[in-house]
């Protein structure tokens, strides 16, 4: 049983109610800036509670206040029955906490890190070895016990940090964005450790920018600008969304989107790959109004089907839409076809380390090519080579008709680049930033004012040239950065994690922008570690350890999956049900909000067996059905195949 250390005291202080965390009117100000305000939160024992929000929403501040390492400026919180300010020492002595930043000691080995945290939390010598062995086994880190933490991959570091935070079997785990930038396989293993802790009764509070991660939590709170805008079970949040979500396939898609935006702005239509999603009032799926609008524009409606809303749909609907999206142009002049990027066997070595290993692919004009991969897989290095910022160790590439290394000046005038941190000058106004980048890219004077107006419209900042960039929201900064990167009308656009840390509504609008640019004939190469964004791309390339291990359209990649089927199961007590299947051969179980996802070889043959197991354990199954694989499941399969290939090669040599 986890939580021995604190459970005795816990039951004394919080007898009847099982609240592990109770916060009332919690708030924190930094000078003039309010990071969090008026937060009311109650978290029950045994929950996995997700705190969802974009950068700057107040997630970290909230978690630090709950972990009693930051005093609130208003309100109060009780954690494990202790007052967070007066009895902070009682709280910090008991809970497990993982900060967002690298929290290990890089110069200590895996073993030594665990030993240190075990000693720090006074884990008895006798229990230490057993706990360490168990955690290392769960994290698949046994083979790396003697490696220095700084030489572990990002995913391994996160898993180790989690093990360190759990070494004293705390009754409450507070995790601050623990999985940002982690590869999907490590991510799944990370969550497996959490499931184990959950089945042992641990309460988990986890913050995340990822909607799909929040879906796994038993309850979710949505934070925006320091305020709680919703807090409930994912299922109920989804059910509470007014209206119904529909998915349509329409041709031409862009004209359909423009028409829908005009006819039904409150339906928040948006493009999701080949499909359009929109939220219609109850029964509105058949109502003629929007169909008529599409028909007027000569849009062909191929399919219309109701879909379950995602948490992101809920979040977007709840967000105060301050900056209205600039309407999408219905028609854009299509550019010429043909390849814009051709890469052959490109490699980059730094000393003994191979960052990029024999990568080949092509991007057509007007194509959105998505580069996916965990931190450190070689995405940024590849982009830097293609921009002429790094000289490849081997291989060749042509970008916008320029052979790499032949004419760097010509190359630079034909490409645009937007980096993770947006590279805007915060102390300058919107107009000054545009002028600066126009100067850098040598935009001819004759066309400058036209391009400038266009860029302002693109960014949704028309008439706001005088505003300081510092005062803009994250989403607006991101659009402005993109507008700056395309001032010189590049043929190829490189976007390096352009959506990191931005709220979901801004992300959607940003992808619409990218779509507009692509239709004008700009080729876009974009990297992301949001798996769900993969759907927006025409072609995906998955990079792993510097190698391109999968390449194709989302549909092709899904079709290529020959690794079983996914069952979604809804029952009363999903965490207990999860415990049931944890050690079941042939079943990979994971929590998915209030449901379970079970990966099995063959759904038809597995179903009766699974149901029997559940019934015997006294679970009431409300629903069990086969669901399509998420793009993340696809990538996990490819990574596991690659890992198997590497393992056999290592075994042979």
């Amino acid at each position: 049983m986890a939580g021995q250390t604190g459970s005795a005291a816990l039951t004394m202080n919080a007898p009847a109610a099982d609240w592990v965390i109770e916060a009332e009117g919690l708030g924190r100000r930094y000078g003039e800036h309010t990071a969090v305000a008026g937060l009311d939160l109650k978290i029950r024992r045994g929950e996995v509670f997700g705190l969802l929000g974009s950068d700057g929403a107040g997630k970290t501040t909230t978690l630090q206040m709950l972990a009693a390492i930051l005093d609130p400026s208003e309100g109060r919180a009780t954690v494990l029955g202790y007052a967070s300010v007066r009895e902070a020492a009682q709280i910090t002595a008991r809970i497990g906490y993982m900060s967002q930043i690298f929290s290990l000691y890089g110069r200590l080995t895996v073993d030594e890190n665990l030993d240190f945290f075990a000693a720090l939390h006074r884990v008895p010598e006798a229990a230490r070895a057993e706990r360490k062995a168990r955690l290392l086994a769960f994290a698949h880190l046994e083979r790396h016990r003697d490696r220095l933490a700084r030489f572990l991959s990002g995913g391994m570091q996160k898993k180790l940090a989690l093990c360190c935070a759990m070494i004293h079997a705390p009754p409450l785990l507070i995790l601050d964005e623990p999985t940002t930038g982690v590869d999907p396989v490590s991510w799944r293993e990370f969550w497996n450790i959490l499931y184990q802790a959950l089945t042992e009764g641990t309460t988990i509070v986890v913050s995340t920018p990822y909607m799909d991660e929040a879906e796994r939590c038993t309850r979710v709170a949505l934070l925006h600008d320091g305020r709680l805008i919703a807090c409930d079970v994912p299922g109920r949040l989804r059910a509470g969304l007014p209206g119904k979500m529909y998915e349509l396939v329409a041709h031409p898609q862009r004209r359909a989107l423009a028409a829908l935006q005009r006819a039904l702005p409150q339906a928040a239509p948006y493009v999701f790959g080949e499909r359009l999603h929109l939220r219609l009032p109850e029964g509105g799926g058949d109502a003629g109004e929007w169909r008529a609008a599409l028909a007027r524009e000569h849009v062909q409606l191929e399919t219309v089907r109701p879909i379950a809303p995602s948490l992101e749909d809920v979040f977007v609907a709840l967000l105060p839409s301050a900056a209205a999206a600039p309407p999408v142009a219905a028609e854009v002049a299509a550019g010429a076809a043909g390849p814009a990027i051709e890469v052959q066997e490109l490699s980059m070595r730094f000393g003994k380390f191979t960052a990029v290993d024999g990568v080949s692919f092509a991007v057509q004009r007007g194509e959105i090519f998505g580069f996916l991969g965990p931190n450190g897989s070689g995405k940024t290095t590849t982009i830097k080579m293609l921009c002429g910022l790094l000289v490849p160790s081997a291989g060749r590439a042509t970008v916008a008709g320029v052979e790499l290394g032949a004419d760097p000046r010509a190359l630079r005038s034909r490409i645009g680049y937007m980096s993770q941190r947006f590279s805007l000058y915060e102390d300058m106004s919107v107009g000054e930033n545009l002028d600066f980048f126009a100067g850098v890219y040598q935009v001819p004077r004759a066309v400058l004012s036209a391009r400038r107006a266009e860029a302002l419209a693109l960014a949704g900042l028309a008439g706001q040239e005088q505003r300081l960039v510092r005062a803009l929201s994250g989403g607006l900064k991101q659009r402005l950065a993109l507008a700056c990167a395309v001032l010189h009308e590049p043929q190829v656009l490189f976007l390096d994690e352009p959506t990191a840390g931005v709220d979901p509504l801004s992300r959607r609008r940003f992808w619409e922008l990218i779509g507009t640019l692509a239709e004008r004939g700009v080729s876009v190469l974009v990297t992301t570690h949001y798996m769900d964004e993969a759907e927006h791309c025409h072609t995906l390339g998955l990079l792993y350890n510097g190698r391109l291990i999968a390449l194709g359209s989302p549909r092709e990649l899904r079709a290529g999956m020959r690794a079983g089927e996914m069952l979604e199961l809804e029952c009363d007590q999903p965490i207990q049900a999860l415990a049931l299947f944890r050690n079941e051969p042939g079943v990979q179980a994971s929590l998915f909000g209030d449901c379970l996802h079970l990966l099995v070889d063959d759904a038809a043959s597995a179903r009766p067996h699974l149901l029997a197991r559940l019934e015997k354990a006294g679970h009431r199954v409300r629903r069990i059905e086969t669901v399509p694989f998420g793009i993340e499941d696809v990538f996990i399969t490819f990574i596991q195949m690659e890992q198997a290939r590497l393992d056999t090669r290592a075994a042979r040599s």
Partner: protein
Amino acid sequence: MRSLVGAIVWKELREIRRDPITMAVALVLPLLMLYLFGSALSLDVKDASLAVYDQDRSAASRALIERFPQSGYFKRTHDIRAEGEIAELLDRGRARLVLIIPPGFAHKLARGETAEVQALADGSYSTTAMVILGYAEAIVQSYALERMRERLAAQGMAAPLAPVRVESRVWFNAPLESVNYIVPGLFGVILMAFPPLLTALAVVREKEAGSVQQIFVSPIRPYEFIAGKMIPYAAIAFLEMLMILAAGLWWFHIPFLGSFPLLLAATVIYVFCTVGLGLLVSSVTRSQLVAMLLSLLVTLMPSFLFSGFLFPIYTMPVMLQLYTYLFPARYFIEISRGIVMKDVGLAVLWPQLLALLLYTVLVFVMTTRLFRKKVA
């Protein structure tokens, strides 16, 4: 109950051992600083460059001039032929002293009149200029005295005894070599230069990296964390002291007159004090850059200027003299010089030792008070 201090010490030692930069700063830089300062910082005048404008060109003038290089303090580097060269030599710093012997020097001497010579010194380094002029005067005086004796002897008279004579003997640094004085002072300066810097950076680095948040969320109490950080760095500082002490004895051959155990005991207190100052700096700073600047400002700079290391405290204005009591380097340098050069013991040095001890306790208490297990 297992010691949480031990856990921190254990972790810290392992990290330090695997960090080549910390090791270099801890073990190589102190020796380098001792070598550079011990060799370069000399207040002694030796082989000062001397330019001579001998307008008399007589046996008598040559005899006087000869005495300068013979003294060991001067080296004759230039012979001036024309008046105009003098300014040039002094302007360019080629000559520390210009000796001018006017025409008729020998003639005046022979007639028993008072002959004059002129000495021009470069006063830009006032201390050395004073010393040089002092030497020059002494050389001329002794020459004059000898000439007087010769003259009296030629007249058949015995030389009279000087009515008063100074019988001067120098205690504690008989050869008056400044290295004997600089090196024991450097012990105090070096221990104030590197250990606090390393310690401050070690803590602030954890703050920057975020790993300190993990420490916050643990049962550890502030004083346990502070002590755990203090002990390994104090141990390193003590090792540094042993190294520079050995180098001082065998490299610079400074005479060590007093008690080793007493000096080492004082060192133990002092290293906890300097490391504690580093921790104090780290508890009020958030970035490594600020921590570095602040620790240089509160440790290295005052230990150079206000510790009596280079500039004697008794020549400072009274207010500044009071100010020097704020810096522990002052006490330790007094202790170190007292033991190394004067062989004085506890009977004399107890006030300084007590001051150091109180200082150290105060720093520790302040640091634990300022160190809060909070991110903001």
